[in-house]
Amino acid sequence: MSEMPAIIDIDRVSVHFPLAGGGLFSGPAPVLRAVEQVSLAIRPGETLALVGESGSGKSTLGQVVAGLRQPTAGTLKFHGRPMGRAEWRQARKAIQIVFQDPFSALDPRMPVSDLITEPLKIQRIGSPADRRQRAAELVAQVGLPLDALNRYPHEFSGGQRQRIAIARALAPDPSLIVADEPLSALDVSIQSQILNLMKGIQEQRGLSYLFISHDLAVVNHLADRVAVLYLGRLVELAERADLFAKPSHPYTAALLDAVPRIGRGRRRRGRSLTGEMPSPLSPPPGCVFHTRCPKVQAICKTTPPVLEPAPGRPRHLAACHFKE
């Protein structure tokens, strides 16, 4: 892992959504805390996986990184510099996004060649002739035939559309791609194809991924580092091998135990989680995980834990009073 400055550095970012309601008689309007005080850095060439269940805030965080959402609190830095106008202009080229649903990610009225060069058109890079040339290169890179350029999205399958979406993300030669559950909507057999495509592209171009997923098996295949989110809070951040071998936070441990294993020997009886994820509208006091934690003690209900290194593992961070 290079020690160059991070491409993007988010510092104590929170995203709160004020909801309708409240007033004179109902008290203050409810606030949905989608993301709460998350700090992360994404370095060149690495794949940082962002995992969590639905409602963990991972998509929202991905949108913040991609510049689609303004954080309610916290700062962002691009290549070490605070985000001013010049930085945003660079960031729009350097950070791209791939979405989960291939069927709504492409404008049905546009042919593929226009679709994949749209980022270039928006940022006024190159002439139309240059862009057509680039479209041809990109299409080949993602493994689609040249005649796809003049076709329309409805003529392609889900996996092929996702390739088109990836080609679009590659068009402005980005350094970071935010991939928001890019495989979740695809058939299992296609998933591995797209996964391998993404790996290959990363090796070729040395780009970074912020890979958002709820599927730990996929994460195991692709990630360099893993960040675990629970109810909008970062509960664990570590290198992949370390996290999968010995998770520090009880939530991560439970997630790993829940992954179905085929063909293994002894089934390890893990400690299963009780209850459901609380609503982001009213997070529990203290450690937000305490309502479902098998290790819960008195302190967990009152004092929120800080994200700090686990005992003996300086590069493995966890937010738990009883981390391992």
């Binding site: 979405f99 709504s104 404008d107 042919p111 060649s113 940022q123 041809a136 329309y152 402005p172």
Partner: protein
């Protein structure tokens, strides 16, 4: 490795979305027939000039001695209640009525489009304000309001008496007042479509690359709203033609001597007893035009979205 040439011939021609739609429209029998009927009607109205020249008739010349003359060789449909050639009046009247339909729809459509886009795209307070206004306008009774607008005396607004009574002023007055009351349907339609479109992932992707609101609207929202707009616009033309005809009939739309299918029935009560045929022709033409336009609208709807219940 040979360089990829983006201009090399493609293996297979793509089927453009519009070609697909035209094919589907062709399959809609009522729509195709109506399209033919409408084209014939337009041609019919346009033959007015050449026909008048050929027969040497002045379409506006009144001759009270020839009132209600039956059809003859020189006047195929006879004379109207002021001694003018009925056929020519029908043709010229058609030009006016169709033109009002078209122009008013365009103006009202643009207004509705603008309001709907702003309300839908920008949301928030602007949306609430615009929608309150739109709902207020929808709540008003259309015809009475049009009559009041139509009865306005232009000289009191500062226009010269000569201009106020000219044919052009009459035409534009009708066009403007109908557009002013009729934009609401388009606005609601466009707003609803914009609201759903602006959340699509491809819009978000464009924004991630730094697209401005103008770009998003022009490149993504408008093309995708085009289809419902076209259908709504077509149906609006029919509605406007009916509105103009009723207004002119009541005396508040196109005023004589300028002919319009509606005002040719001004003194209908009299026509009914003396020359019933004259009472039938103009209304029949309005009826045929509007029903044709409505069928075309239906065909377009079917062409754009074959899932609509048919």
């Amino acid at each position: 490795m040979t360089a990829l040439d983006a201009t090399s011939p493609l293996v297979q021609q793509a089927q453009s979305v519009w070609k697909l739609r035209w094919k589907r429209f062709r399959g809609h029998r009522a729509g195709m027939i109506s399209l033919g009927v409408l084209i014939l009607l337009v041609l019919f109205t346009l033959t007015a000039g050449p026909l008048a020249a050929w027969f040497g008739i002045d379409p506006d010349a009144t001759d009270l001695l020839s009132r209600y003359d039956p059809p003859s060789a020189g006047h195929w449909l006879g004379m109207d209640d002021a001694g003018r050639d009925e056929l020519l009046r029908l043709m010229y009247g058609g030009q006016i009525s169709l033109l009002v339909g078209l122009v008013s729809t365009l103006i009202g459509g643009v207004v509705g489009l603008g309001i709907g886009l702003c309300a839908g795209y920008f949301g928030g307070r602007l949306d609430a304000l615009l929608m309150r206004f739109t709902d207020g306008m929808i709540a008003l009774p259309l015809l009475p309001l049009l009559i009041v607008f139509g009865a306005v005396d232009l000289t009191k607004l500062g226009f010269s008496s000569e201009f106020a009574h000219s044919g052009a002023a009459g035409f534009w007055r009708v066009v403007v007042i109908i557009a002013v009351v009729d934009w609401t349907q388009m606005a609601r339609l466009v707003r609803a479509a914009t609201l759903s479109l602006k959340e699509r992932d491809y819009v978000l992707a464009a924004k991630a690359s730094g697209a401005s609101p103008l770009y998003v609207v022009a490149a993504h929202i408008l093309p995708n709203v085009a289809t419902p707009i076209i259908v709504a616009g077509t149906l609006t033309v029919g509605r406007v033609i009916l509105l103009e005809s009723v207004l002119s009939f009541l005396g508040f739309g196109i005023v004589p001597p300028t002919p319009s299918w509606g005002n040719m029935l001004n003194n209908a009560q009299e026509l009914v007893t003396t020359a019933p045929a004259l009472a039938v022709y103009p209304g029949l033409l309005i009826f045929i035009t509007v029903i044709a336009v409505n069928f075309i609208g239906d065909g377009l709807q079917h062409a754009f979205d074959p899932r609509s219940n048919r």
